[in-house]
Subunit: 377 residues, 2 copies
C-alpha cells in the first residue's frame, strides 16, 4: 500500500473524529450497494447478498469490515481481479462435507453460498463442514456464523488471506494474516454468544485510528522492521509485523500464534488454497490467486446433543452469571461476546447507520458517476 | 485447596530446582500406575488407559498434567468421588454425533473411550462430534486429539472444569476454568501440528513455579482479591483470579475471555454438564458433580477434502516456512505448536522420563504401601 492510500485512510479517520455523522437507513445503503454491484455485472441475487454482508457489518458497528471497504470490491471488480459472475461450484462432496471452488468471485457471495450449503447438510445430518478455496476477502467473519442462529445451530466461520501481517512467536517476518475465528451460539432471552476475533492482538484498523489521533500504541501490538516491540503507530502501519494474540511469549503469544496457524490449516491447507506466506515465496501463475482467501464453515445442530430449550436455558443462565459477576475496579459492566454488536445492530436498525459526511459525499459521487439514485433521506 | 497442599506443591517444585533427576523408563512407570489403579478396583483395560494418559504427559514434558497428579486420582478413587468401574454409556446418538455419560469414572478413561467412538464415526462418515458429561479431570487435552493422527484425521479436544479460576474481561470474580483447546493435525515429514493451550494467559503451575523460585510474576497474569493486576505469585496462587489469554482489554483479553466461554459452551452447555460458576451458585445434589468436567471431541477425515499426501505436503511446506522465517533479535529458533513436546517425547521414549528423587521416593512409598513391585532400574 503506497503513502497516498495511507494518508487517505488516516485523513478519513481524522475526519471521523471531528464531524457529526449523518444517519442513513440500512435499506437505503443496501439498495444502493446492490445496484452498484449490478453495474459491475454481478447478478441480482449476488449483488443483494454482497450488499447485505457489507451493510450488516456497519449495522453491527464493525466499520472496519463494512461499506468503508466498498472501494476494495469495486476496484477489484473493475480490474478483473474479482470475477463478477463466478461459477461457484462444489469440487468435492460427501453428505456432510464439501469443498467449494469460489472461481474468484466476491468472498461476500461465495461465503454465503458455502454456509447455505453447510446449513443444508447439517439440517439433514446434524453436523457439516464446508471449506472454500479460490475465494476473495469475505468481510466480517461472523456474518456467516450468524446465519446458523435461526436454525438453532452453532456456527463456526474462519478465513485466511494471502496478505500477511502477523509474525510467529520469536520471529519478525510476517507469516500469517489476521486469520479470524467466529463462533456463534444461540441463547434464549439473552443475546446470542457471537465471538468474532482476529487471532492477532489487534486489527490493523486500530493502528490506523491511533495514527489518525496521533496516539502511541501499546507495546505488545506490533514490531518494528528490526523485530523489536514498537509503540510507534506509523512504524506498525508501514511494517505490518503484528503480534499474535497474547503478544510476547511471556504473556502467551505462542497461543495466539498457534491459533493463527490452526486457522491457516483449516482454511487454506484443508481447502487446497493459499496459506501462510506461500504467495510471497512462490507467486502463483494466476494473478487472482495472489490476493486470495480460503474459508472454513461448520454448522452443528444443537438438538443432536440435547433439547434446544434446555440448551438455551443454560446459555441464558451462564451469560447472565457472567454479566452479573463482580466488576474490576472502575468497571461498570461486563459484556459477553457480541453483546455490543448486537445492541448496536438493534439501535442502528431503528435509527439508521451513522456515516461521516465526507464518506457520504464519496458515496454520492460514486452514485452520480454511475447514475444510481441515492437519496440519503 | 488448603495451605498444606499449597506448601506441598511449592516445596516439591523448589526441590525440583535443586536436585539431579532420575530417569525412569516410560514402560516402568506405566506398568506401576496401571497396577496402582487396578488396586482401586479399576478394570485391567481402564487401568492401562489411565496410566498411558498420565505417562504420555510426562513423556511430552507436560509434567503439570502427568504422574505428578497421581494423588488427585488416587485420593478421589479412595474417597468415592471418582467411580472406579463406571458404566460409561452413550446417552444420545446419531451416525455422526454422540453424548457420552461418564458416570463419574476417571476422565482419563472416559476421554479415550469417547474419542475412540468419535474416530469410529468419522471413519465411516467423514466428520464426527462427541460430547461428554459427568466426567472428571481428563489430564492433558492433546492426548485425545493426538489419537486422530494415525487415522489421517484432524483432532479437536476441549474440556472445562467446575473449579473456576479465570475472570471475564472487566471482571474480578473467577467465572471459568482454564478451559483448554487442543487441535492436532498430521503433517508429512515434519512433526505434526499439536496445539494444546489453556485459554488463560498461563497455567496455574507457572505461578506455582514462580512461587517456588521466589520470582515475581509479570503483570497481566492475574488479579489480586480487589481485582487489580498483581505481580505477587502468592496472591495470584491464593486468589485464583487469572486473566484470560491476551490479559488486559487493551492487549486483547476479551478474545481469550471469548474463547474460554466458547469452550464452556461446547463442553458443559452442549453436553448438559456443569459450566462457568454454576457449581458455586447452585451446588448440585450429587457431590461428584461439584468437581466435574465436560469434554468435546471432534474428528475430521482429511481425505473428504483433498488427497492426504497433497495435504501433508502443504503442511510440511507451511511448517518449514514458519521455522525458517526471520528470527527476532536474540532468538535462534522459531517453533511450531507441539514441536518441543514432540522432540521431548522422542528423547524421553529412548532415555526415560526424568523424575525428581523426592518424587521417586513418594512413588516408592506408595508402591510399598500397596505391595506393588516398582524397580526404577
Amino acid at each position: 500500500m503506497g503513502p497516498a492510500a495511507r494518508l487517505k485512510i488516516s485523513l478519513r479517520e481524522a475526519q471521523y473524529l471531528m464531524a457529526e455523522s449523518i444517519r442513513i437507513k440500512a435499506d437505503t445503503v443496501r439498495a444502493f450497494l446492490a445496484e452498484m454491484f449490478r453495474r459491475f455485472g454481478v447478478s441480482e441475487r449476488d449483488a443483494w447478498t454482497a450488499a447485505d454482508v457489507l451493510v450488516r457489518a456497519d449495522l453491527r458497528g464493525v466499520e472496519s469490515h463494512g461499506v468503508n471497504n466498498l472501494w476494495q470490491y469495486t476496484d477489484f471488480l473493475r480490474s478483473g481481479e474479482v470475477n463478477p459472475h463466478p461459477s461457484i461450484r462444489v469440487a468435492e462432496e460427501s453428505p456432510i462435507t464439501a469443498v467449494v471452488d469460489g472461481d474468484f468471485g466476491m468472498g461476500l457471495v461465495t461465503g454465503v453460498r458455502a454456509m447455505e450449503l453447510c446449513i443444508a447438510k447439517a439440517k439433514e445430518h446434524g453436523v457439516a463442514v464446508v471449506s472454500v478455496r479460490r475465494s476473495k476477502h469475505f468481510g466480517m467473519a461472523s456474518y456467516y456464523a450468524l446465519m446458523c442462529l435461526p436454525h438453532d445451530m452453532i456456527g463456526v466461520s474462519l478465513t485466511n488471506n494471502s496478505t500477511v501481517g502477523v509474525v510467529p512467536t520469536f520471529g519478525k517476518q510476517p507469516m500469517m494474516s489476521t486469520n479470524p475465528i467466529s463462533i456463534v451460539v444461540p441463547a434464549g432471552k439473552e443475546p446470542p454468544f457471537e465471538l468474532d476475533m482476529a487471532t492477532s492482538v489487534v486489527a490493523m484498523s486500530k493502528v490506523g485510528l491511533a495514527l489518525a489521533k496521533g496516539d502511541r500504541i501499546p507495546f505488545g501490538w506490533a514490531l518494528d522492521e528490526d523485530g523489536r516491540p514498537t509503540d510507534d503507530p506509523q512504524k506498525a502501519w508501514d511494517d505490518r509485523r503484528f503480534l499474535p494474540l497474547g503478544g510476547t511469549r511471556e504473556l502467551g503469544g505462542h497461543k495466539g500464534y498457534g491459533l493463527a496457524v490452526a486457522v491457516d490449516i483449516l482454511t487454506g491447507v484443508l481447502a487446497g488454497g493459499m496459506y501462510g506466506d506461500r504467495v510471497q515465496r512462490r507467486p502463483p501463475e494466476d494473478k487472482r490467486m495472489r490476493r486470495s482467501s480460503s474459508h472454513f464453515f461448520a454448522a452443528l445442530r444443537i438438538d443432536c446433543f440435547r433439547p434446544v430449550d434446555e440448551f438455551k436455558a443454560d446459555m441464558d443462565d451462564m451469560l447472565r452469571a457472567l454479566k452479573e459477576s463482580e466488576k474490576a475496579p472502575g468497571q461498570e459492566r461486563i459484556y459477553t461476546a457480541g453483546e455490543i454488536e448486537h445492541e448496536t445492530e438493534q439501535e442502528r436498525q431503528t435509527n439508521g447507520i451513522p456515516y461521516h459526511p465526507y464518506f457520504v459525499e464519496q458515496l454520492q459521487k460514486l452514485a452520480g458517476e454511475f447514475g444510481i439514485p441515492f437519496s440519503i433521506r
